[in-house]
Amino acid sequence: MMQEGLDDGPDFLSEEDRGPRAVNVDLQTDATLQVDISDALSERDKVKFTVHTKSTLPNFKQNEFSVVRQHEEFIWLHDSFVENEEYAGYIIPPAPPRPDFDASREKLQKLGEGEGSMTKEEFTKMKQELEAEYLAIFKKTVAMHEVFLCRVAAHPVLRKDLNFHVFLEYNQDLSVRGKNKKEKLEDFFKNVVKSADGVLVAGVKDVDDFFEHEKTFLLEYHNRVKDASAKSDRKIRSHKNAADDINRIASTLYTLGTQDSTDLCKFFLKVSELFEKTRKIEARVAADEDLKLADLLKYYLRESQAAKDLLYRRGRALVDYENANKGLDKARAKNKDVLQAETTQQVCCQKFEKISESAKQELIDFKTRRVAAFRKNLVELAELELKHAKGNLQLLQSCLGVLKGDT
């Protein structure tokens, strides 16, 4: 029952905010490289994003161009960053989550099955609701993919990456298939090893206060963001459920209003109308909370993980460096393979220092970005909550006024 090609064309994205939908990230975009997702198409089980680039850089053949990309290609790009040793010292912008319409799809299906048990008006209303929900999820996934690209474009080093340029420019399919079972299994083991290693590495006390503090901070912060994100999701779901109930109540009141033989009929109709309107506002409140709060928390869950990964890489490099030192001492003591040991030690030292330097800056930037994003979102959240509460209040008061006047 999926909507084939839920593409409203260019209008679809021309809503409130044009330009990078960088909800959770405070970015400075400059004219040399601007990336955005200008369009998106939803098909059976994949989403096709139109990535639009405007650039004055000489690397590109044209100044403005577009390509079509799918989710797997974003993941490929992200993974290529992660696997690139050169970028070990940077916070790799977190990959966008897979577009997930399963829940929405399920609901639409259930609605289809339950069609017989409700009136035509109810059915149309619920269908509209679910379609709106689907659209909201769609917009969110577009936003998250866009944020990823914008973060890369804003990063002084990553923006120069060759794979990134290919991603932006190459107008054929990148033939990046999703990982098959074997590769997924490999990934799984890699992660297991990494976490075990991570524990070991984390155990090593850092001489540098800054990094020691960051380590403790990030660990705790990450966990708490995870918890807050889960709880805010649950809260918003309850809110949506309550709004759905009000929807049903409004419908039944409407039927009562049309059937009643007493003065109550006008009363019921008015109240039904009121609840219809307040329900829409309640649904908007839930949606705005979702956007400004839940999404913010989810994003920083992923970013804090990326920051943790950076710390892990640095820790790993530190351990390697220390081991290389020990190796050099041993070699010097035995007077065997000293040159080799020296080279190894130098390489490790350079690697470690390079990572440390850029990591420090990255983590400071991370904090700045985070504070700015939270500020922006919390302010917007409060303003929206106020707007909706005032709207609700006005509706309620005017309805009460009318009803009292009628008696």
Partner: protein, 505 residues
């Protein structure tokens, strides 16, 4: 129509017939204001706070509790000889029981519109306040029960004192309802149904679980019992019923064992219910009166919609409670996040957010309670009331059936008599003629009963609809006001938070 036919003829009959309370009322057009019903206290129908004691401004034209504006009655003060006719058990009686000796002459309810308006002007109210309070647990274990204090404040003369306090348990209420139903339902009176039994709820209380759900259960029940009594006394005939008076005033009440499900009376009730159901299916009534057909259909529709609405509201209550719980959890989580955030201003803002969310959680909790106590319980009450209304329509059908049966029997007797005329058995012929007279009488009685119940139902339904309109209006307005309050609080909280968020540097 039946009313026209009766006009003058029955005027004389009113005083000679056994004082069925409703016989005379149709005819009285005059508005007899009762001097002993001053406009002091008013009934608070549905109150948000459990104890009902609303002294409202008597001159308030919008007073919604003024449910019996039209219920002006003449009460003969001098001879309140109350023959305590207390039925000791449910009597599935078909023959009318005569409950009251005072002959109240209730006003006409099915009158012309003009007179209705006049009545609205002479607002007269029922001066009685009832509250059910102080639930106390008596006894232990499975034999334990809750006792409620019933306080009646009134200046009506049928009561012996201005203020009476008695202790009653749940089965007492059920017993009262059972008696009233058996006395009045077959006459077409809509007897307010008592609150439902709840095995699960009571068992928890008996077992002694002092948790939130059993406290809520007791409160829910207390509130329901109070509403039940208020509805009962709003009905002018029921108010004067000696069983009601005894219930409200006497300190000792015989234990109503017949309300227990497995008692003899309980079994009898079940048998009767089954018989009624069968009757309903077999009696095919020739409805000559479109009003009844229309009303029956309306009540059927109303039943369906109210049940649906009730279910949706219950779902809303549930989800709001869930929302409250989840908001509280989120508030704690946000506080923790604020603690671990190392940027001071942001940390403070997050803590403030946590506080706001906590307050909002409280708000949701209160709103859920409003949803419940205002709307959900009202709907539940009305679903049960509508069942009682439909029961009354069924009674009319039964009465019609009886009348038809009597006519059939008369027919047969006549046929038998005709046959006997050629059989030269003089004693048998005489007997047949006697029987014919007997059955002619029964047919007449059947017709009168049918018309009586039809009249009563018209009046009752009219009154019921008026009350329904008022009840729903009042409650829904109160509910909307509670929503207004919620939004105002929300605005306050977020307005306080906004500068904190902006202060993050």
């Amino acid at each position: 129509m039946s009313e026209d036919r009766e006009a003058p003829a029955l005027l004389g009959a009113a005083h000679t017939d056994p004082p069925e309370p409703q016989d005379a009322e149709d005819l009285f057009v005059s508005v007899a204001c009762v001097t002993e019903c001053p406009e002091a206290a008013r009934l608070s129908a549905e109150d948000l706070s459990p104890g009902s004691d609303g002294h409202k401004d008597p001159d308030d034209p919008d007073d919604p509790d003024d449910l019996f504006a039209e219920a002006t009655e003449e009460v003969s003060l001098d001879s309140p000889e109350r023959q305590p006719i207390l039925s000791d058990g449910p009597s599935p009686a078909i023959t009318p029981v005569t409950p009251v000796t005072i002959s109240p002459r209730l006003d006409v309810f099915d009158r012309s519109l003009d007179q209705d308006d006049e009545e609205e002007e002479n607002r007269d109210t029922l001066d009685i306040q009832i509250s059910v309070s102080d639930p106390e647990k008596v006894g232990d274990g499975m034999n334990a029960f809750m006792v409620y204090k019933v306080t009646t404040k009134t200046s009506l003369s049928i009561f012996s004192r201005d203020e009476v306090c008695v202790k009653r348990r749940f089965s007492d209420f059920l017993g009262l309802h059972s008696k009233l139903a058996s006395k009045y339902m077959h006459m077409g009176f809509i007897v307010p149904p008592a609150p439902e039994k709840s095995i699960v709820g009571m068992t928890k209380v008996k077992v002694g679980k002092e948790d939130l759900s059993s406290v809520e259960f007791v409160e829910k029940r207390r509130s329901a019992l109070e509403r039940y009594l208020l509805r009962t006394v709003k009905h002018p005939a029921l108010l004067k019923d000696p069983d009601v008076l005894q219930f409200l005033e006497s300190s000792e009440l015989p234990r109503a064992v017949s309300t227990q499900a497995l008692s003899g009376a309980g079994i009898l009730r079940m048998v009767n219910k089954a018989a009624d159901a069968v009757n309903k299916m077999t009696i095919k009534m020739n409805e000559s009166d479109a009003w009844f057909e229309e009303k029956q259909q309306q009540f059927e529709n109303l039943d369906v919609q109210l049940r649906k609405l009730h279910a949706s509201v219950e779902s809303l209550v549930c989800h709001r409670k869930e929302l409250s719980v989840n908001t509280a959890a989120f508030a704690k989580s946000a506080a923790m996040l604020g603690n671990s955030e190392d940027h001071t201003a942001l940390s403070r803002a997050l803590s403030q957010l946590a506080e706001v969310e906590e307050k909002i959680d409280q708000l949701h909790q209160e709103q859920a309670n409003a949803d419940f106590y205002l709307i959900s319980e009202l709907l539940g009450d009305y679903v049960r009331l509508i069942t009682a209304v439909r029961g009354v329509f069924d009674q009319r059908m039964k009465t019609w059936g009886k009348w038809q049966d009597a006519q059939l029997m008369l027919q047969r007797k006549r046929e038998a008599e005709a046959k006997l005329q050629y059989a030269s058995k003089p004693e048998k012929l005489q007997q047949a003629r006697d029987e014919i007279r007997e059955w002619e009488g029964k047919v007449q009685q059947g017709e009168r009963d049918f018309e009586q119940i039809s009249r009563n139902i018209r009046r009752e339904v009219g009154q019921f609809e008026k009350e329904r309109v008022k009840d729903f209006r009042v409650v829904i307005m109160k509910y909307l006001e509670s929503l207004v309050h919620s939004q105002q609080q929300l605005i306050k909280y977020w307005e306080a938070f906004l500068p904190e968020a902006k202060a993050i540097a």
